[in-house]
Assembly symmetry: C2
């Protein structure tokens, strides 16, 4: 019985918390839920849960994301382990934070109501339980770093999107405005988009061509070092 080897050691509660980002076309938002149990019941919170004995930490995060969104195959990345002794007044809990990117339209109104969830613009995050605000801050920073060198922005956009949507996304992530021509030149030079014949006629009379992210083309690149911005 191998566990006996470590029987003298303290055991801790281990949680996961998920920072879920979505993009509306104008701004980046985070998905928050009302906490329905003590302590701090009734306050806004990240979606989280405890890691079980027979479950890996990543599996716990996937499970929690699935519970809230009904989605599988979500872009998800481990962010940081928050391990302060006093971070949760309900007990000694260490929490591994994950950040996830979803296509905001995939998230149904029903699920939202069911979980008492809401989307909040990143600069209008309400008071949150524990250290969750720090988690969001760190996630935002990590998103910037990551999006600069890896094509993760596509996880936030619909399957087909216009170049202006893509640019708007990067502008939201970097909280800046970009020159249209320079941006498009840069993206095209990476050669990871495929232009469709179809146009989006929603937002202009002329219509803007849709593009899709071409995973095959991307996979041919050296995955570690493409430079978006």
């Amino acid at each position: 019985m191998p566990t006996a080897l470590y029987s003298q050691q303290d055991r801790l509660l281990v949680a996961v918390d998920c920072i879920i980002f979505g993009f509306t076309g104008n701004e980046l938002k985070a998905l928050l839920v009302k906490r329905l149990f003590e302590p701090e019941s009734g306050k806004w919170s990240l979606m989280g849960g405890f890691v079980k004995e027979n479950e890996s930490v990543e599996a716990a995060a996937t499970r929690v994301l699935g519970q809230l969104t009904g989605l599988t195959d979500i872009y998800m990345e481990q962010l940081f382990c928050f391990g302060d002794v006093q971070r949760d007044p309900g007990g000694r809990v260490i929490s591994v934070a994950f950040f996830a990117l979803i296509k905001i339209d995939d998230y149904s109104e029903e699920l939202m109501a069911e979980h008492y969830a809401g989307w909040f613009p990143l600069n209008k995050i309400p008071a949150l339980v524990f250290d969750h605000k720090n988690m969001i801050k760190l996630a935002k920073q990590r998103l910037k770093e990551k999006a600069a060198t890896h094509p993760i922005g596509f996880a936030l956009l619909p399957r087909k999107f216009t170049l202006q949507q893509l640019q708007g996304l990067y502008e939201a992530i970097y909280e800046t405005s970009l020159d249209k021509r320079n941006f498009i030149r840069k993206i095209h030079s990476l050669n990871i988009l495929r232009k469709l014949d179809e146009k989006d006629k929603e937002s202009s009379r002329k219509g803007a061509f849709y593009y899709v992210f071409d995973r095959d083309k991307y996979n041919q690149l050296d995955k570690e070092a493409i430079q978006f911005l």
Copy 2:
């Protein structure tokens, strides 16, 4: 008694493991120890320990580093939480890995013997217990990323060093060779070094001037975005 709130949840063993890097003048090395307890007693391992109930995860890492090196005030950074169910055959243990940089000369032979420790070049790491090899791999990668934008290399060099030592360090980190003139120009343009009057006469007849890292000058810069390479 607030802990009762979460009493239904599983509790896990939580460990920390430290990847300790040092630099000899030619190559980057990692400090490993012989594991003296079961399971896998006798194999090489990272230095680690369990997180206690009343200790933060970072504090546990600092404690473990202090035990092995006798040093305080070590550069240390959280790397990643390894949470697979089967990663440790001795039980369900999740491990938060940290990477640390030390000046290799600060680490005494006596401590080394006492802990059955040894320095290993990064491309000659022996078989290690559990997932420790993955931890080193990830740490190496993180060191590259971090050193490109933050002046952490100084934590690996003696207080005073020559420009060739500094260049040698970056060459070791990036596993490449750099042009001497371009490198020096770049470093000088960052304006974070102070030249001493003293010369190192060990490695040449002419002698090379010593420099020190000037933390004051560095602190005046925008800490998030300097570009080394």
